[in-house]
């Protein structure tokens, strides 16, 4: 703050005062009032509060740049001479001459062709004289009387008419509807008649020319089919709104059926897979023993469980799995570094189930051994006589009547099983429910259930077929 500011604030004119200090101060601003007023007129414009503000900003004040933002389109400076466009004539085809605008000078040599002439391509329709026509139309019966072939439809056509037809075809490039429209020769003829005749003649023409032409079959025109097709189309187009609605409803229905069919198909596949899982081409001998049966049963069971899991399970998130793995690893590392006891403890927990399983297995084995030991003194015959068996399986302890342990099924299935049993002349309760009889009887029941299941699926399949038909 300079002294002038004080005067400024106090509204005191300080011109005289400054002149007093002249020469003593080295400050160039306050050196002389006249010098300040004359030499720094720009600087003096910034006074009072404004100057204070500038002081606050410090030395490096950002420059205020004023940018002119009005941009105009550049002026066009084309020095080329304007090219001439002329209205000239050209020949569209050999009949018509038209005019259009073209760039450049007028051509000297007459009326030029259109640039699009190269696209003006016409079909090559065969041409022939009357003699040729007669010769290829009836090659064998040329010499014989024409009465025989008179009843054929194509011979109602005179050569003149054929020529007329071919002329039209050439002219309208086989645009059949146009040809049919323009056709005006003798009696009324249908579009199909014209087409048939044309292709017939063409076929014979080319056949006479080259019998081995492989493309000849393309000229085969079947009038009946074409007429039929048009009839169908006509009927299709003349349906009423109600009919269309009904049709749509039917289509939706059929789609529903298709969906259901797809579903059952997949179901059936899974069943077939189930049926095939014990490889059917292998011998059944290995499953004949009770051990084999148990193994087969376990196989099927695990197979089933796996499949169901696979079908119902939400697809695993691989990322989650990985994360879990990481977490586990970290856990392990932590434990290894940490307390050994904790480690053992958790390991124990983890292996508890395994250990338990192993223990029960051991126990079972021990039990079986013990039972075997008890029975050691008896040979097979004696064992049979005593009615004692070491089955080695875990069954609920206690006493029961053997006949009460025959498998039963759900009521609906049970009825079917009973029916099958009656069909094959078997009692629902074996007359002698002894150990061996029941063993076999159980097997029989299992097969019957399989049979019923198969029957059910076959019936379902038949029903579906009937529906789709």
């Amino acid at each position: 703050m300079s002294g002038s500011d004080v005067f400024d604030v106090l509204n005191i004119k300080y011109k005289g005062k400054i002149s007093e200090h002249e020469g003593t101060t080295s400050n160039p601003i306050s050196s002389s009032s006249s010098a300040v007023a004359v030499n720094r007129p720009a600087k003096m414009q910034v006074t009072g509060m404004q100057r204070e503000l500038y002081n606050l900003l410090g030395e490096n004040q950002p420059p205020i740049v004023i940018q002119p933002n009005t941009k105009f389109k550049e002026k066009l400076n084309n020095t080329n001479k304007a090219s001439p466009w002329i209205h000239s004539q050209f020949t569209a085809n050999k009949y018509v001459t038209l005019e259009h605008w073209t760039k450049g000078p007028k051509s000297e040599d007459g009326i030029p062709e259109s640039n699009f002439t190269k696209y003006d391509i016409h079909l090559s329709i065969p041409e022939f004289s009357e003699e040729e026509y007669n010769s290829f139309m009836n090659p064998q019966t040329k010499s014989t009387e024409s009465n025989e072939t008179d009843n054929k439809p194509e011979h109602k056509w005179s050569y003149v008419e054929i020529l007329y037809l071919f002329g039209l075809c050439r002219r309208y490039d086989l645009s059949w509807f146009v040809i049919y429209d323009r056709y005006n020769f003798g009696e009324e003829k249908s579009l199909e008649d014209l087409k048939e005749m044309f292709y017939e003649v063409c076929r014979k023409y080319f056949l006479a020319k080259d019998p081995n032409d492989t493309t000849l079959s393309l000229l085969d025109y079947k009038k009946d089919k074409e007429v039929e097709r048009k009839k169908y189309l006509k009927r299709l187009l003349s349906r009423s709104a109600a009919e269309i609605a009904e049709e749509e409803a039917l289509i939706i229905e059929s789609k529903k059926f298709e969906m259901a069919a797809k579903k059952t198909l997949s179901e059936r596949e899974s069943i077939l897979r189930l049926l095939d899982s014990p490889n059917s081409d292998q011998s059944v001998a290995q499953y004949m023993s009770s051990q084999g049966i148990a193994q087969l049963y376990n196989n099927l069971l695990s197979d089933k469980a796996r499949k169901r899991k696979h079908e119902n399970g939400i697809p695993e998130n691989p990322w989650m799995k990985q994360q879990q793995q990481f977490a586990q690893q970290r856990h392990h590392q932590l434990q290894q570094g940490g307390d050994k006891r904790v480690d053992a403890n958790s390991m124990n927990k983890k292996n508890k189930k395994q250990k338990y399983d192993a223990q029960t297995a051991m126990k079972k084995k021990g039990d079986a051994e013990y039972a075997e030991q008890l029975l050691q003194q008896f040979n097979d015959e004696e064992r049979k006589a005593l009615g004692v068996t070491a089955h080695g399986e875990k069954l609920s302890p206690g006493v029961y009547l053997r006949s009460t342990k025959i498998s039963t099924f759900k009521p609906a299935l049970q009825n079917k099983v009973v029916t099958v049993l009656q069909e094959i002349d078997m009692p629902t309760r074996p007359a002698m429910p002894s150990y061996e009889v029941i063993l076999r009887y159980e097997k029989l029941l299992k097969r019957i259930v399989t049979l019923i299941d198969l029957k059910k699926h076959l019936d379902k399949l038949d029903a579906e077929k009937a529906i789709t038909k």
Partner: protein
């Protein structure tokens, strides 16, 4: 009836075949004195071994529960032979309860037997069609006898010793008129089941093929 504490022998089972059923005869001129007038038949229900051997070493008592119209319908037979003779005019289900000896430490088993008085199956005299349970002997006695096996699964050691000390599973080797349940019948049964199994297997194969064809179509 102190419970015998004894370890069960795991993974081992002992079977004892028994026959149960009833015989019935029309009441002739000789009638038991106390028989009501309307009673027409004299019948006997029994539990016995296949060759009438002693079964009391494992069966303690048998309780027959008769139709409620009988006086004292619950009849307890505590000594062999385990049979009960009564007169009656109608057929009904008899509840049979077999109690085992104390050493066995097993629960009783209970089942029903339908008393048969009339030979409904019109088979020839004395012949028994497999699957039908009623026979009629030449003397006109109606029989409805079943074979079954009492299975002691995992018996305790004491009881096992008792069972092992008595051979108990002796079936006659051949059928006799008196008792058809024999090794011979067992063999026949097995053969019949095997044959039936073949039939079913064949049908399964046929159906499998049909199904395969049907699906590929």
């Amino acid at each position: 009836m102190a419970p015998v504490v004894s370890k069960r022998i795991k993974t081992l089972s002992v079977r004892r075949p028994i026959l149960y059923g009833n015989t019935a005869k029309k009441l002739g001129e000789i009638r038991p004195a106390n028989a009501p007038v309307e009673h027409t038949h004299l019948w006997t229900i029994f539990i016995k071994g296949p060759q009438n051997e002693n079964i009391s070493y494992f069966i303690k008592k048998v309780v027959f529960k008769l139709h409620e119209t009988y006086p004292n319908p619950t009849r307890v037979i505590e000594h062999p032979p385990f049979e009960l003779t009564e007169t009656g005019w109608g057929e009904f289900d008899i509840n049979v309860k077999i109690y085992f000896v104390d050493e066995a430490n097993e629960k009783m088993i209970s089942f029903y037997h339908r008393l048969r008085l009339h030979p409904y199956t019109m088979s020839a005299t004395g012949t028994k069609l497999p699957g039908t349970d009623i026979t009629i002997t030449e003397s006109g006695e109606v029989r409805s006898i079943f074979y079954d096996e009492v299975v002691f699964n995992e018996p305790n050691e004491n009881f096992f010793k008792i069972l092992m000390s008595t051979p108990g599973n002796l079936l006659p080797s051949n059928k006799t008129e008196d008792c058809i349940f024999s090794k011979q019948l067992e063999r026949e049964e097995i053969d019949r089941i095997d044959m039936a199994m073949e039939k079913v297997d064949k049908e399964i194969e046929e159906l499998k093929q049909k199904l395969a064809v049907g699906i590929t179509e």
